[in-house]
Symmetry: C2
Subunit: 143 residues, 2 copies
């Protein structure tokens, strides 16, 4: 798997929230069911999104989660980072701690190409892209 389970869940949840629109808050339970993420686990992930400022939460009656940022201003990297993924902690495949471009490990040149592709994707794809490209696709979160 490219990303860990938590990151997957985070991307799903934010996609679900963006697609739900901003008309009214989306309840954790609803979002969990829609995105097929374990509900209590989703709560933990959404908390991180709230802390990062990408989502607002409302307790109590009629409460739930609402987007707090325009989809075009939210990139995939932002959600991944907020969910705990740290691109800089991804070591070179060699596991050599101090591997840098100027002082590389043997697999560095090859590995760097993969990493660059990933970064291109994660830094340049926004949730507006996701929304636009998925607007003709119906929700099919359930397996």
């Amino acid at each position: 798997m490219f990303l860990n389970q938590t990151s997957h869940y985070a991307l799903r949840a934010m996609t679900g929230l963006v697609r739900a629109g901003n008309s009214k808050p989306v309840k954790s339970g609803e979002l969990a069911e829609k995105t097929d993420v374990p509900s209590h686990y989703l709560s933990k992930i959404m908390r991180k999104m709230v802390e990062a400022g990408y989502v607002r939460s409302q307790k109590g009656h009629g409460g739930g989660f609402v987007m707090n940022i325009a989809p075009e201003d939210l990139r995939i990297i932002d959600v991944l980072t907020a969910s705990g993924f740290d691109i800089d902690e991804q070591p070179c495949v060699f596991g050599w701690e101090m591997c840098r471009n100027e002082d590389p490990c043997p697999l560095h040149p090859v590995w760097k190409r993969l990493k660059d592709s990933f970064n291109e994707w994660a830094y340049h794809t926004t949730f507006e892209d996701i929304r636009r490209e998925s607007q003709d696709i119906e929700d099919k979160f359930k397996r």
Copy 2:
């Protein structure tokens, strides 16, 4: 992490073996030390490389592991697959089991771009590329 620890180890080990040349077998312990992989764990991984036919092993005195395929014929995807990584088991980030191009999940278009980049890298990079691009780099497997 893009790949799991085992896949990292496999790539390191095979890189180490390719760089060691074919003059004489490389002992498991030596390869383990050179690539900073736990030695007993490396043995298990090398076993898979042997089973896949990429490496020959020799027991006993003077034994060890030798490449059994030309570096230009061994792709990254081959080593990943042999080590247990299954590209087709990598579900769409939505976790929707039946997600295909013709019948996609909401994140499919975006996710596909990442997957395509990865495949381009894994299917088109050979260990000859790795050897060539690393020939001016000294071994620095230890962290």
